[in-house]
């Protein structure tokens, strides 16, 4: 039987180890690497939000950039036009922008389409938002919204100054860890189990008395909100919201992370995002090499280890435990033979 407590503790330890590893970065790396690490931390949760939809409820999104950009632009607009708003509230509102986009799009698309058709619709809608951004003066057209300041948070008993890149980096990794743990908890709550049931057999779930579309929409909105939260957190870090983050290549990123790391495991996208960041860093001096490396790696993963890196690890472990079990069984039989 599954020991739920042990499983929870294990995953909490994984999250804590990840946080600790990221927390060390400022002590050992230069500012360029620190910047990259911050983006990787954001990408991890961005990837988790995509896989929440894909492996969690069985919806394929090719347009996650629209949520990410929605959060980023929402945050940038609030910071520029309502600078007196508390930072954390602004983040929440930024995330809500993505949730709202997901709600509007989901209500229309989920009623009409499923499977590949749904995926193509997300791509089309995401492109529409990209074009809207580049054509709207209010949103800075092709230049984006620049000069977003990093916040100083009033805590009542004191202030938390996040204006330096390092300080804000720590804010990022803590916020991302919290969101990741919350997502894990949600996926293991009864609601998450239900979404998993919907992925595996919609008809059966419906005939247990569950409105499928309502739950799919809920999952879609949650995924969009989390993706938008990632975008909103990123904006003060990079200090710019540019139209590139709404481009379709951004939508492909969480898919790449998930395929590299393994869709069947909760932390798969995290492994993929870190690997992706490492490749980006290793090939930064040679323009174009990063894309080639990622492409070749993706091809290799899909063809050779379809379950991704964590899928490979899982299989290895299963095979190892099987062989040890076989060995002990073998020993036992030889013992009994010796006993005879």
């Amino acid at each position: 039987m599954i020991d739920y407590r042990v499983r929870f503790r294990t995953n909490l330890v994984i999250a804590a180890c990840g946080l600790a590893a990221f927390a060390v970065v400022p002590f050992v790396a230069n500012s360029g690497l620190l910047f990259l690490a911050g983006l990787v931390a954001i990408n991890i949760v961005f990837g988790l939000s995509w896989n929440f939809l894909f492996s969690g409820v069985g919806l394929l999104s090719f347009g996650h950039a629209m949520f990410f950009a929605g959060g980023a632009y929402g945050m940038a607009l609030i910071t520029r036009h309502v600078p007196e708003m508390p930072f954390l509230l602004a983040l929440v509102l930024g995330a809500a922008c993505g949730g709202l986009i997901a709600l509007v799009f989901g209500v229309v698309a989920l009623r009409r389409a499923s499977g590949v058709y749904f995926a193509v619709l997300t791509l089309a809608f995401s492109e529409l938002i990209h074009i809207l951004i580049t054509k709207t003066t209010f949103l800075g057209r092709n230049d984006g919204l620049t000069g977003i300041p990093r916040p100083v948070i009033e805590l009542g008993f004191g202030t938390l100054n996040l204006t330096s890149a390092t300080a804000y980096y720590y804010f990022i990794i803590i916020a991302m860890t919290l969101v990741a743990v919350m997502m894990w908890c949600f996926q293991n709550a009864p609601a998450g189990r239900l979404l998993q049931a919907i992925r595996q057999d919609q008809m059966r779930t419906a005939f247990l008395g569950t409105p499928i579309q309502g739950w799919q929409l809920t999952a879609f909105v949650i995924s969009g909100t989390v993706a938008a939260f990632c975008g909103a957190v990123m904006v003060p870090f990079t200090q710019i919201a540019s139209p590139e983050i709404a481009y379709w290549t951004v939508s492909t990123q969480p898919i790449l992370f998930t395929l590299l790391g393994g869709a069947g495991h909760f932390w798969g996208p995290a492994v993929g995002a870190i690997l992706f960041g490492a490749i980006d860093y290793g090939t930064r001096t040679m323009h174009g090499l990063s894309e080639i490396t990622v492409g070749v790696l993706l091809l290799a993963v899909v063809l050779i280890i379809p379950g991704g890196l964590l899928g490979l690890l899982k299989r290895r472990r299963a095979a190892a435990s099987k062989s040890t079990r076989a060995e002990t069984a073998g020993e036992r039989t030889s013992e009994t033979e010796a006993g005879k």
Partner: protein, 252 residues
């Protein structure tokens, strides 16, 4: 006896093909009503229409005195229907135990409201206990932790039955519950179904092919032929009906 389900003048066609024509169908509380008929007679379509998997073109369906004609399947399930499928539908990648937990949690969600679905990372103790009770009742002890997709055909059917029972339905609808089973599994299944029916005080609606199963379970028999009901009543009377013998039983 009260009438738990009442369908009047149902018509159903797929494109040009008329499958059900002016079918009226009753289900009395506590009975075990079996629908039989040759292949293509419309049994499965009738089953789908009553359960809400597909909508009828005209006619009405009442459940417990409420009009459910326009309601989707999940809404009818919330009003007291539980159903199985001809090829057992279960959650393949989950363990058999988790399949049951999903079913029980779904019932709790419908009873207690949506907030029961959040805030805890393990199934509640009461849910686990209930799942274990169902496991024992249906003899699934040996297969608890296996992915449900790897279960044997018969175990899948039993698991699906257990999931339907977890919903505590008033009406249990089984679409060919013994399809694809060996004769010994079949009599085992009949025994299990009649046990469950007695213990839970269920009203049963079945479609079936196998005559042994039909006469082993039925308290009422309805014969469907070319999308119309040609006889309905107590099994031995229907069996004696001349027309029924001609179109169906005579072939055996």
């Amino acid at each position: 006896m009260t009438r738990i389900m009442e369908a009047r003048a149902m018509h159903k066609s797929y494109g040009q093909v008329k499958v059900l024509e002016d079918v009226s169908f009753d289900l009395e509380e506590g009975e075990a009503h079996v629908v039989i008929g040759p292949n293509g007679a419309g049994k499965t379509t009738l089953f789908r229409c009553l359960s809400g998997e597909t909508r009828i073109n005209s006619g009405t369906i009442m459940l417990n005195g409420q009009d459910v004609t326009g309601l989707a399947g999940w809404q009818r399930v919330q009003r007291g229907i539980g159903r199985s499928f001809q090829v057992a539908r279960i959650f393949q990648d989950m363990s058999a135990f988790e399949n049951l937990i999903v079913a029980i949690e779904t019932r709790e969600r419908n009873e207690k409201g949506i907030w029961a679905s959040f805030g805890h990372i393990a199934p509640r103790r009461a849910v686990m206990d209930e799942a274990e009770r169902l496991v024992h009742e249906l003899g699934l002890e040996g297969t608890l932790d296996d992915p449900a997709g790897t279960l044997s055909h018969g175990d899948k059917k039993r698991l699906e039955l257990a999931m339907s029972l977890a919903l505590r339905p008033k009406v249990l609808m089984l679409d060919e519950p013994t399809a694809g089973m060996s004769p010994s599994d079949r009599s085992e299944a009949v025994r299990l179904i009649s046990d469950v029916r007695a213990r839970y005080g269920l009203t049963l609606l079945l479609t079936e092919h196998d005559m042994e199963v039909v006469f082993g379970l039925a308290t009422r028999l309805t014969v469907l032929h070319h999308g119309a009901i040609i006889a309905s009543g107590e099994p031995h009377k229907v069996r004696a009906d001349a027309r029924v013998r001609e179109v169906y039983l005579g072939q055996h």
